[in-house]
Subunit: 358 residues, 2 copies
């Protein structure tokens, strides 16, 4: 089934994820741009599978999916007592946490759902189930609002006429809608700043070539894709004015885990004296992790590199090393754009302050 409706999620395009009756459905991001197919989840394990197989990806979107997945799971629990319900619900949460290791938003969502459920002791199981579903809807809507605020906060950093490099897809498809890095880009575009975007294609999964190009072209924002190999050359030629990416987890000291290749872009930006910005909601900050080297980095299968749409490209039996994320030390980050404002070095203090602010 092909989704062609305009959704009121703030971006006039296909929604990333939504409730559909008693099911959760999401656009299958493995198939964009060739197709915009719905992927329907009837139970929480369908959602876990969707996260693992990257039907849905992007740290904030994974968080929302986990929330909706747990609400789905809660709906299926048969329990007579609150204690028995919570035991089963928390087990689902543990399972959900294992879907992917790097993006902290997954844990954030699981914790939020569990906290809500725990706070409802004394209510009926049916009330708790209904409230969990509502909570997952609030997570979606809040995320869109947060992204718009990130866009508004980051927009002043974008000079008129700037050419902006972005890596991976930190757009509407990576979030509830609007996007983090692409949210800033959207806001600058809507302010009439006449920006241009260069999108790293972002191997191996080609989020830039497939998803970022798709989103920006739909919105009429000028975009050109490049092989990831070309970013440094274009910077050296002064054809890129600044870089913005999203983040999958930010450590207490400001180190950033993000899509593999982000570290390289940050180093090249520094070498070429170009600002490197990270746009992310506060839910991406993990104050329990001291520095980036302690963030678990998922390693994915060789087939993502060696096989392309079911066709073997590498010699049969080729070994591959396929880390899905990398760590950018905080010293390479010019600023972190959040919904509550822009953080600057020293990040440890700035992060502490913003997380404890009222």
């Amino acid at each position: 089934m092909t989704a062609r409706r305009n959704k009121p999620n703030g971006i006039g395009m296909v929604p990333t994820i939504e409730w559909y009756g008693s099911h959760v459905r999401m656009i299958d991001q493995r198939k964009i741009p060739s197709r915009t197919d719905w992927y329907t989840c009837r139970g929480y394990r369908d959602v876990i599978k969707a996260i693992q197989k990257m039907v849905i990806r992007g740290a904030p979107a994974i968080g929302i999916a986990a929330g909706m997945g747990l609400a789905l799971g809660a709906g299926s629990i048969r329990a007579k007592s609150f204690g028995s319900f919570m035991k089963k619900f928390e087990r689902m949460g543990h399972e959900m946490l294992l879907a992917r290791p790097t993006a902290v938003n997954l844990r954030w969502a699981v914790d939020r759902m569990a906290a809500l459920a725990r706070s409802m002791e004394g209510h009926s199981i049916e009330e708790i189930k209904a409230e969990l579903r509502l909570e997952s809807e609030r997570m979606l809507n809040e995320d869109i609002e947060i992204n718009k605020q990130i866009g508004e906060n980051g927009e002043p950093l974008i000079p008129r006429g700037a050419t902006i490099l972005t890596h991976c897809n930190a757009g509407a498809l990576a979030t509830g809608g609007y996007g983090t890095a692409l949210g800033v880009i959207r806001s600058a575009h809507r302010k009439g700043k006449k920006i241009n975007v260069i999108a790293d294609e972002t191997r191996p999964w080609l989020q830039g070539l497939r998803l970022t190009a798709f989103e920006l072209m739909r919105e009429g924002i000028p975009v050109a894709v490049i092989a990831d190999n070309a970013a440094g050359f274009l910077m050296r030629q002064k054809r890129i004015d600044l870089v913005i990416t999203g983040a999958d987890r930010i450590a207490a000291n400001g180190d950033v885990a993000n899509k593999i290749g982000t570290y390289q872009v940050a180093v090249l930006a520094r070498t070429n004296k170009i600002p490197f910005y990270v746009a992310a909601p506060l839910s991406t900050i993990d104050p329990t992790i001291r520095n980036g080297d302690l963030i678990p980095v998922e390693e994915r299968g060789a087939e993502e590199i060696c096989i392309f749409r079911d066709r073997q490209v590498a010699p049969v039996g080729t070994q591959a090393i396929n880390p899905a994320f990398d760590i950018t030390p905080a010293r390479y980050v010019s600023a972190i754009i959040t919904e509550k404002g822009i953080l600057r070095a020293p990040y440890k203090a700035a992060i502490k302050k913003i997380l404890t602010a009222p």
Copy 2:
């Protein structure tokens, strides 16, 4: 037709290019590793087309192809006088020069063939034609010998047990045989140094994933491919000990034009305090070009990025910027390994000295 013979070109594998009766044939590198098909050239324009379409690629291999192509072209010239022969031959040379702009070996080969022809004034046209063909065969055989010498000269730079990152394919397939960067790797392997290779897949054309993996696996040299995005992360994790690449043109000051992405690898190597070596024959050095920024960088079509084996991957109509090469400033180059020895900074003096040495 599938080529499975072992050829005595020093590497016990498929030859890159060879004379086959009155034709020139080459392995079609667009199809490796799925197929090892011959691509047969009956005239010099077939060779130009093969170079443009990257049936054959790699700076030294392009040089040899140009030499053989011009010998093919010479064979087809109908001329009664030396002057008329030379006029036609030089016109072919001009056409050949336009096939691809960045690798200087193309010009080197055209100049060498033209100089030989010019030196034979007084000989019969048939003698000149025969000698041009012999010259192109000498170019092939010399190149293999040069590569072996590069390998021998570079091998002492490789520590026992080292893990070596290479970018693109600077191997047997990029040369007459044995390879430049992969020649050094072959020599270290044959010395029993127990090396491991990590090959950047090298988008958009995937020379690393397809060709370097193919060559090294055939020789039993341990190799793992990575997305180009992962090189920096692995360096930061201290999983790469050194980098070796080839070169398409080296300026008088030591700046290196090579496959797009090389500059990024060099910057990342410097940031992570890892040696970055370039292995190339002296024919790759262009003393007429003062610095790298004066080297013409070929821009290729968007389809190399947006279309994958006839399948549209990007949204239809996606713009792309596709520079095929980049420039690595000499300050990032730890050493240039040539057949006459190892050059170190200051490169301007070292290059001048080695090019004027007897």
